[in-house]
Structures are given as C-alpha cells and as structure tokens.
Amino acid sequence: MNEKISERVSDLMDGELDGSDAERTLSVLREEGAGRQAWRTYHLIGDALRDHRVLSVGFSDRVVAGLAQEPTVLAPAAAPVAPAARAHSWRRYLMPAAAGVAAVGFVGAVAFMMPMQEPSLTTPIAQAPQVKPTPAARVIEPTPPPVPLPAATDDYLLAHQGYSPRNRLQGVAPYVRTVSGQALESKR
C-alpha cells in the first residue's frame, strides 16, 4: 500500500496523473501519512541533489520575475504534455525535474503572495518550460470564436441589400440572401 502511494506521489510530481487520479492522490496528501511522507522525501532528495537544503534566497522573486516575462495567453488552452517530457521522470533526471517540481510547489504560495493582477497566473507553471521567454511581456490575441448571428440579421441584411452593387449586375436575385431561411430558422 505504502509503495503504491509513493509511486503515485512520484507520478503526480512528474505530472503523469490525469485529473481524477491527481485529485485522489492530492486528497491523500491532505492527511498526514505515507503519501505526505513520500512527498517530503522526494522533495528533500531533489533539494539535496541541488545542494539546496532550503530553497535558495530570492527564489520566489525569480518565479515572480519569470511570470512577468511570460507571454499573456488570453485564452489558455491545456497544453498536452509532450511524450518526451513524460519520459523524463524526476527520478531519472532529478535536476531539471526538481526545479519544475519546486516551481509547482511554489506557484500556490506565489498566488497567495501576489495581488491577482496578471492573468498569467492562471497558466499552470508546469507548462512554463514549453513557452519560450520573451524580452518583454506581450499579449497574444487569439481569434475569438464566432458568435451567433444577431437576432435582427434579416432586417440588417434587407436594409443593406438595397445598397449592394450586386443589384446592378443581378437585379433582384441577390435579395435571396436577405430574407435567408437560415437566419429566420436560427431565430426559432
């Protein structure tokens, strides 16, 4: 049992658990026990390997600075973890993974410490290494999804059609677009 939970904590730290599994493991971690023991041990191993008995001075400052450098994704999409990244288990590649794990551990703390002004805080920090840092914070504006046609579409189209140069080439035929079945039907 203990072995099993430590395995799952390890997987959690590697970001290999999906939503419900991660949730279950996290709920185990809320209670003192083998799970939490494993969590602490693994973090200690990571810190020891990097010769950080405690986190280095200015760590949180660097995380904050790093966040400021991140491009602001206005509609963050869940970036899938690349298979290559999965293969790099923290146990095999302790150094970089431990840094990532430390960041995961800290993002919560940072979120509490910082006023919620940057939407970038909604971007999971675990994805950060996949995004190239840029010299200055910039905004990526995604194309917004189309909205449904306005309720008065038929009226707008009719009002517009009288001015369409198409009438000069096709007579009354282009009016077929103005009282369109589609716009009428979407209203029902």
Partner: protein
C-alpha cells in the same frame, strides 16, 4: 506569393491577372443587360451547405422595370422590386417589409459611387481578366474573373450569355480560393414576360407592414465619427431608418464599387434581447457587433471579416457639434 496563390485559385495564371479591357467591357455589358432585358427563370443559390431554388422574373420598361423573386425552398418569401422600392412578403409571419426609395431633392437618380459609375476605378482594387467560357442552362457563356489586389475584399467570377450579356452564374470566392456563395440559373428565358409573373402571390391583406421610413441623416453632427479607412471604399449613403417593427437606427454605407459595407448604430436601451458582441458569418456576409458609447454598432459587410472588423473598430462617438 499571395497574389500568385489567388491567381491560381481563380484558375488563371499570373500573366492573365492583368486587366483586360474586354473583361471590364463584359462587366459593363452585364450591367446593361440587367437594366434592359426582360426575362424569367429559375436559379439556385448556394451558400455553405445551404441550397435554395428561386424563381425570378423581370419586365423591363422605361420606368425602370419590375422584378419579382420567389424563394421556392424553405421558408416561403417573395421580394418585389419596382421603381418605388422593394417589398418583402413573409407569409410565415404575415409581414410585408417595405423599403422605399429615399426622396432626395435635386440629387442623382440612385446611389452614386457603385457600378457602373466606378467601373474605371475598379482595376485599382481588382484585377479583371477573362475566364474560361462555359455552357450554363443552355446558354454559351463567357466569363470575367475579378481578383482582389488585397485581402480587404472577396473575388468574383461572373458568367454571362455571350450574345445578350445576361448574367447566368455569379460566384464569390474567398482568399483561399473557396467558393463561399454562388448563384446559377438552371433555366432561363429571355424575352417578353407576362405581367402576372411579377405580381406578388400574396394578397397580404391585414398583414403587418414594416416601413423602413428612410430619411437622410448627418452622423457627424450627431457626434459619430464613422470612417471606412479602407482603400477604395467610399461613402455612398448616410440615413436614419427603421429596422424591423420599431427600432430606429442610423445607417452609413460604404462601397468599393463591387462590394458594400453597412454600419448600423442604435441606442442600446432599445435592445431587449441578450447582446452578443463579436463576429458572425453568413455566407459572403460578415457581421461584427460591438458596443460604443452606450450604442450598439453592427457592421454588415459583403467583405472578409478583417475589413468588417476594421470598419467597426473605427466607429467613435464624440460630443455632438
């Protein structure tokens, strides 16, 4: 590179993407035919996955002619155009929508700044060339390909009867070379048409009448700055009118000679339904809605989304002068 892609998409090489006088002459011939011919026929309108068959008839006369369009598929409706304006008969809602011609004192016959007045200017914004001939509904047709010189407008391919100039097929093409809208006659008779073919079938007795009641307006004096700011697009009208049953809106129209864009401005307070701002699409139309100074601005354009958006973003309200 983009020009090349567009030229290829339109089925002609770069060498042919030059303006040919014959291509522009054909455009003018199509316009003349639309004014002068009497005809009756059936055409198919395609847009996205929608296909509708309509019957059309026109009687040409000295007063400007009378035309009727009757949509045979889906929701029944009839549109009758006379020299006085346009009447839309909608049996499902027992409504007649009436768009009368605006009375203007001492001004031109109709709206200026669109075809054929701007035919000579057109080559600045579209490369006009002759396309491949085709046989459509029994007529031997020649064609003109209008390829936009920028991404602010769509392209067009028009096929017309070689002898009369009657338009038999019209296709609107987007920047990827995809057809986004098409009209094609499946049957057409050119020649005298019986009077009753252009009369509405609907008696429309006791139907609700929605009058546009259009009057000229001056938006700048009311504090509105509207500026198309797109190459080739000129303002062709500026009015105040009713939309639907009671809503009063301001409408400004811009055109580059082949495509037109309308800007509608209305007070938000008169809107009852949920407001959804953003871009929506219906075939060759893009519609963009945004809120400006407690008003709803709706831009309806027969142009790509980018130009509709650009026009909408330019709308500003300042203190009335």
């Amino acid at each position: 590179m983009r020009a090349l892609a567009l030229a290829l998409a339109f089925g002609c090489g770069l060498a042919h993407a030059q303006n040919t006088p014959e291509a522009l002459a054909l455009l003018n011939k199509i316009h003349q035919a639309t004014q002068k011919l009497s005809y009756s026929g059936t055409f198919i309108y395609q847009q996205g996955n929608r296909t509708e068959v309509s019957r059309i008839a026109r009687i040409a006369d000295a007063s400007g002619g009378t035309e009727k369009l009757e949509v045979l598929d889906g929701v029944p409706r009839e549109v009758v155009r006379t020299r006085d304006g346009v009447r839309c008969y909608l049996p499902a809602s027992q409504t007649v929508k009436v768009e009368r011609k605006v009375e203007r004192t001492g001004q031109q016959r109709e709206f200026p700044a669109i075809l054929p007045d701007r035919l000579n200017e057109l080559p600045q914004y579209y490369a006009a060339s002759r396309g491949a001939p085709a046989r459509i509904a029994g007529y031997d047709c020649i064609s003109v390909v209008l390829t936009p010189r920028d991404d602010l407008r769509y392209g067009y391919v028009l096929w017309a009867d070689a002898s009369t100039g009657m338009l038999l097929r019209a296709r609107t093409v987007n920047e990827k070379g995809e057809t986004i809208e098409q009209f094609t006659f499946t049957q057409l008779e050119i020649g005298p048409v019986a009077r009753d073919k252009v009369k509405p079938k609907q008696a429309a007795r006791n139907w609700r009448i929605e009058e546009a009641a259009t009057t000229p307006a001056d938006l700048l004096r009311e504090g509105w700055t509207v500026n198309a700011d797109l190459p080739g697009f000129q303002k062709i009208d500026e009015v105040r009118r009713r939309l639907g049953e009671s809503l009063v809106v301001r409408q400004v129209v811009y055109s580059d000679g082949l495509a037109a864009v309308s800007i509608f401005i209305e007070p938000l307070a008169e809107r009852r339904e949920l407001l959804r701002t953003g871009m929506s699409n219906l075939g060759a139309f893009n519609i963009y809605t945004r809120e400006v100074a407690n008003h709803l601005v709706t831009v309806v354009g027969e142009t790509p989304a980018a130009s509709v958006r650009r026009i909408a973003d330019r709308v500003e309200f300042k203190r009335p002068q």
